[in-house]
Structures are given as structure tokens and as C-alpha cells.
Symmetry: C2
Subunit: 312 residues, 2 copies
């Protein structure tokens, strides 16, 4: 029941589920309860709740004991990215739950195919990867491991639609899943351009904010090409692909930040420097901006636009 | 004075400039004038004009004859991407303008270093690349060719700030400039993942819309890493860079679209299929969405947030 756990629990509560929230560390229950109140009030203010916050609070049971999980049809694990800790957690879960329970991990670092070997029914184990804040983002990645039953994955995708998510389904747990791999391709090219002296951190951010940023939430990348004219892109593919960075090493710029123990806004040292106040400003700006984008993305949801069709 | 030319002219008018708009093709002047009225009314409705539309219309002079350019300090070329046509246009411009006039191209296809050889004062020639619609996007790329005087580029960047743009400065005209190269890195990885059967066009679009889309306009990519914790990223760089696509060929999926003469929404065939009505819906949705994003991006402008600082 850390940042992510409470955030996911609240998302499920808001979708009308009963939630058994496991907080086995001493003192964790009380903190988690306060956090539930804060997050539900945030949702309420944003107009995302159908009933009053009390109704949702009544639907959550905060427990310290794994045995309470016996009632659950779906168990979501979001402990830290440590194989040994996950192993011990899965063991405790498996001792309690029934054979038809689905177990899912929020991991973004460890392959699902490895994790599912740690439970008695690997076919009922898969990845459900949320974005932060889980209750106010539409993104959700469902990832199958080698042994996951595809039917279970389809069921989870249907469930995610009920949670008002826009789930993507990854049939094989390739490293980095979809969204991370796409982002790392951008990071690689941007860091190489900076290293060659062609651009700066600030200019690369501007290009992303004001070019990509003006259309990506509406269209994604493929519909954008359709919109601009696919034929124009083909010629550029031919010309530009051979010129893109193919590096496999960690670029010096990010190495230097690491050597200086820069962690970003958390210790005010990263690609940019921050005062303590500026770091706080960014936290607040993101919370506020994310809420606006959540609503904007809903207004331009394909279903609402009457633009439902199948992609090839 | 096509789509882009009128759009750029209106952006300059709204910034308080006098504009000489060259429309040498018979009948072009009348169409351009109507377009000016439409675009200014659009800006007015969006609350982007300080005076009434008539004031701005009075500041534009529509001409057929290149000789009118003699008054201009800055000449912006945005004819089609054809070297011979550009050459003839630059010749006509150069015959008229004075030695201290800056000439700029909106090209995104032809290197500035090649184009600047076609004018008598290459040091006063550079790229100014606008996004569509030019009067309602903040993006603007200033690109130097080999012979461009850096001082001229700095002057244009200052000017662009007065136009309320967020200009980026590219000191060498590498292929694809900054924003295109970053996007092509994403396209390459996404098309490879689809080809390997790991994801679909629709899911890649969802990942971009609902993950990247929820933060990129606020932060760009580097501040996002600062925000999430740079240290987490370094380990993923090491693990993921060696797994990203390095292909140089045109992916089969886009080749197939080309072989079927698919051009996207323009002929209703692209990565997705469209009915005529759906294609129109997307045009309208984009115009509407872009306007909202323009205002949202302004509200979260770094200067307004009090978050001005220098990037490394």
C-alpha cells in the first residue's frame, strides 16, 4: 500500500469493486487509510466519482494478514522490483488463494515469464502495468508471459475497459513492453543529437512539448501519419532511417549525471537543476496538468467522436 | 499563399507585423484574401487577437509582383519542395531585396546548406520551419546552413519569441532537423515491434496517446526523466538500448500501404481505413483539439510557472 498500491486500489474502488488492501508493515494501515481519503477527495473534486467518498471507503478492507486474500478473484502485486521479495510475496498469496484466482504484477522491470514460474498456476499469472496516478490516467498495459492463458489476458482487457482504461495487450513479454521501448528509442536519438552538438536538452524538450505535444494525445503516431499523408513519410523513412542512432552504450551525458548522484527533481539535480521550491512547483504543475489532460483525453476519446473502427 | 503561406502570414499579422503577401498565380490573390479573413476570424474566436480583424487585414498587402518585396526585412519562402522551383523563386527575390534582407525557407526536406548557395548572401539565409496551423502552434525550428551567420539566427530566435513561439535553434542542418529525427526513431521502433507481432497499430497509438500524451506537453522528455527519477532510467538504458531496432530499410507495413496507393485520410486509406465522413471528423477534431492544446500549453508555459532556468 505505497504510492502505487493506494493509487491502484482507489482506481478499482471508483470502478465499483470491493477491494481487500493488504498492508502488512506495522503502521502502514493507518497511512494507507489517510491516503485513500486524500485520493478519493481528489477524484471527487475532479468530478470522477458517482457516489460520495464514504461509499467507496466502505468498500475497502485494510488488512495485515494475507489470509484475507481468500475472497479475491484478482490479486494485484505492486511491491518493489526485487525478485526475492516478489517470490516471498507470491508464496504467501498462493498459500491462500483458490485455483481460479488471477495473480498480476505491476512490474515494469522483471519479465512476466520469469515471475509466473513462482506461482502454482502460471497460466493464471500476467502483467497489469499502471501509470501513476493510477486513478487518473487511461494508460494500462496487459502483458502475457510465455505460460499465460490468452483467455485470461482477454478477460483482464475487458475488465480494464470497465475501469475506463485504454488497455493495450502485449502477447509476449518483450523487454520494456511497448511504451518504454518507444520512449527509449526517442531518448537514444535525442541523447545522440545532443552529444553531437546538434541540439540541447532544452531544445529537444521544446520540440517534444510543442510539436508532438500538440497532437499525440488525440492521434498517436500512426493516425498522425494518416492525417499528414502517409506517402510523404515513406520517402523520409528511406532517407532518415540510415541516419538514426544505433548506439548500444549509455550516453556520456546521463553517465555524468549518475556519477554526480543526480536523481532529478528528487534531489534537485538532473538534466536540469532545481531549487527546492521549483521541484515542488513541478510536482504541483504535473498533478494539475494531468487532471486537465485526463478530461481532455476523455472528451476526444475515439468512441465519443464516433470514430470507432478496427486498425489493421 | 497556399495553406502554409496564409497561415504563416496571419501569424505574423497577429504579432503586429506589416506583411507583403506574394500571390503571383492568377486568381491566387482573391483566394488568399478570403483565407486571411477565415483564419483571422478563427484567431479572434479563440481570443488570440488584441485588435479587431479589420486592423490586421489592413496590415497585409497582397501583391502579384516580386518587386513589392523591396520593403521587406525578412522574406519567408514556402513554395513546394522542388529545388528548381525554389531556385527560380530565390532568383526573383534576390533581384529585388537589399543586401541586409534575411531570406528564410520553410523547407523540411531540402538541406539549408544547399538552398543558401542559390542566393547572393548565403550568410543571411536560414531555415524557419513552422508547424501547421502556423498561427495556432508554438513550435518553430530555426535552422542554420553551413554559411549562415549565427548572429542572424539569434536575431530570428528573438523575433520568434515576439511571435509567441517556443523556437528551437539547430546550428547545423542535419537531415530531418530535431523533431523529425525524434519522431522517426519512434516510428522505426514501433513498426519493428508490429512486424515482430509484439503489438498492433492500434495499441502503439494507445500507448502514445495515453502514456506519453499525459505528460509530454508539460515536460518534454528530459524533464520527464528528472521527474520520474533519472537514476531509474540509467539501468534501463543499459538493458534496452541493445534491444532497440537499428533497421535502415523501409518496413513492409508502410511499403504495402504505398503499393496500394494509400495516402492516409486524404484518400481514406492508410494505417487505418476511413469513411469520407470519418476523415472529415478527424479534420474537425484536430482543429478543435489543437486550439485547446494551444491554450493549455500556454497556461503551463515555463515562464508563467515561474520555472525559468537554464538547461545544461
Amino acid at each position: 500500500m505505497g504510492l502505487m498500491g493506494t493509487s491502484i486500489a482507489v482506481s478499482l474502488l471508483a470502478s465499483g469493486h470491493r477491494v481487500i488492501a493488504l498492508a502488512p508493515i506495522p503502521g502502514e494501515k493507518e497511512k494507507a487509510y489517510d491516503q485513500f481519503i486524500d485520493l478519493l477527495q481528489h477524484m471527487d473534486k475532479a468530478g470522477m466519482l458517482k457516489s460520495d467518498t464514504k461509499t467507496y471507503l466502505d468498500a475497502v478492507t485494510l488488512v495485515e494478514d494475507y489470509r484475507a486474500l481468500i475472497e479475491c478473484k484478482l490479486v494485484l502485486e505492486c511491491v518493489i522490483e526485487d525478485m526475492d521479495i516478489k517470490k516471498s510475496v507470491y508464496h504467501k498469496i498462493s498459500e491462500v488463494v483458490t485455483a481460479d484466482t488471477v495473480i498480476a504484477s505491476n512490474t515494469s522491470a522483471i519479465p512476466i515469464s520469469q515471475l509466473q514460474l513462482l506461482v502454482p498456476y502460471p497460466e493464471r499469472f500476467l502483467g497489469i502495468h499502471w501509470a501513476e496516478p493510477a486513478y487518473m490516467t487511461r494508460f494500462l498495459e496487459v502483458t502475457c508471459g510465455t505460460f499465460t492463458d490468452p483467455k485470461i489476458a482477454d478477460e483482464v482487457v475487458s475488465l480494464a475497459l470497465e475501469w475506463e482504461k485504454e488497455p493495450t495487450l502485449l502477447k509476449r513479454d518483450i523487454r520494456g513492453f511497448i511504451t518504454n521501448r518507444l520512449m527509449y528509442a526517442v531518448y537514444r536519438e535525442a541523447l545522440s543529437l545532443i552529444e553531437m552538438g546538434h541540439t540541447t536538452v532544452g531544445d529537444a524538450d521544446k520540440a517534444c512539448r510543442y510539436d508532438m505535444g500538440s497532437w499525440v494525445t488525440l492521434m498517436g503516431i500512426f493516425r498522425r501519419m494518416d492525417f499528414m499523408g502517409v506517402d510523404d513519410f515513406i520517402y523520409s523513412f528511406r532517407r532518415l532511417f540510415p541516419q538514426l542512432s544505433n548506439r548500444t552504450d549509455v550516453p556520456p551525458l546521463i553517465k555524468t549525471i549518475m556519477e554526480n548522484n543526480g536523481r532529478g527533481i528528487h534531489n534537485q539535480m538532473g538534466f536540469y537543476n532545481y531549487s527546492e521550491e521549483e521541484a515542488k512547483d513541478w510536482e504541483e504543475a504535473f498533478a494539475d496538468f494531468n487532471e486537465k489532460m485526463y478530461h481532455l483525453a476523455s472528451d476526444y476519446n475515439e468512441h465519443k467522436l464516433g470514430l470507432v473502427r478496427d486498425s489493421k
